[in-house]
């Protein structure tokens, strides 16, 4: 078998592996897709309630708007000053800046604060105040 034919056979084999792997993933994704949105006939919701959909790229004002929670309440629960500059930062950026030793703490705290607000309970005790801002 020549080098060129080996290359062709390799190409077809890789292609088949890609088809099988992503074909299975596509079927699984389709199954998950059927449980949401237009496929089950529900209209899209105006405000989100499921806190598990909060992601670390989101900003506090965006989360506040999506979950109908006052942004100052979220900042208060984090012990982070409610400033315009902080409002433009993602949860991950806030975490890296104010709580570098506690990974994902901002994300978890925001979820808890939303849950507390949703159940009309007082917000959970805030984190210890961030002493210094790490550049």
């Amino acid at each position: 078998m020549t080098k060129q034919r080996l290359l062709t056979a390799g190409l077809i084999l890789i292609g088949i592996l890609v088809i099988v792997f992503f074909g299975i993933n596509t079927i699984h994704a389709l199954k998950r897709l059927r449980g949401h949105g237009p496929f089950n006939g529900k209209p899209p919701v105006a405000n989100q309630t499921d806190v598990e959909l909060v992601r670390d790229w989101m900003t506090i004002p965006y989360i506040a708007d999506t979950y109908d929670v006052p942004p100052e309440a979220l900042f208060f629960s984090l012990g982070i000053p409610f400033e315009k500059q902080n409002g433009r930062k993602s949860l991950k950026q806030l975490n890296d800046e104010y709580f570098p030793d506690q990974p994902d703490i901002v994300l978890l705290q925001v979820k808890d604060a939303i849950k507390a607000f949703q159940t009309q309970a007082p917000p959970p005790p805030s984190l210890p105040p961030a002493p210094t801002k790490i550049p």
Binding site: L7, V20, W57, M58
Partner: protein, 203 residues
Amino acid sequence: MSETVSGFFLTQVINYGAPLFALTLFFGAIGLPVGASLVLIAVGAFSQQGYFEWGLMAVLGLLGAVIGDTLSFSMGHYGKDWVEKRFGSSPSWINARAYFDKRAWVAIFLTRFLVTALAIPTNLIAGGSGYKFRRFMLYDTLGEATWVLLYGGLGYAFGTQWEVVYEFIGNFGRFLLGAVIVGAGIWLARSQLGKPRQVEQST
């Protein structure tokens, strides 16, 4: 890494809106791994939530993508001489060019929204093979408009569940890429099998 980059762009799109969205699609169209499809679906969802005006986002996003494609087409165009010097006399390159010329519009149109991983190579080949810019622009704009409306529309329809849509589209696109790889392999195999016969016939 890619998730971090697309996360960064999602945050910036939330903060700065349409101009940043257009810039993201522009970066995606020149081949930077910014997660353009993910951002597009997300923007559809943000529009449904009332964050953005979907018409403006669609127009600016389309503009960003088409400008990016024009740039990558130009890269192929200006690299044409180098490619011609290096591969110009190769029969495989000549065959591939002829094959591309026949089906270029299908490749340009479909790689905008169906097999997006091949969009950049297609732009470079189109530019490098001397494909007419006006025709490229026509099929490119049609393909990108389909991409923006289809992906953005799905994000809009599914709202906050847009991540599930992205998961499906991402996997389906790679599945199609696999089919293209197999197709290319079969095409190569057929052309290799045809060679000895041609030699026999000519002798």
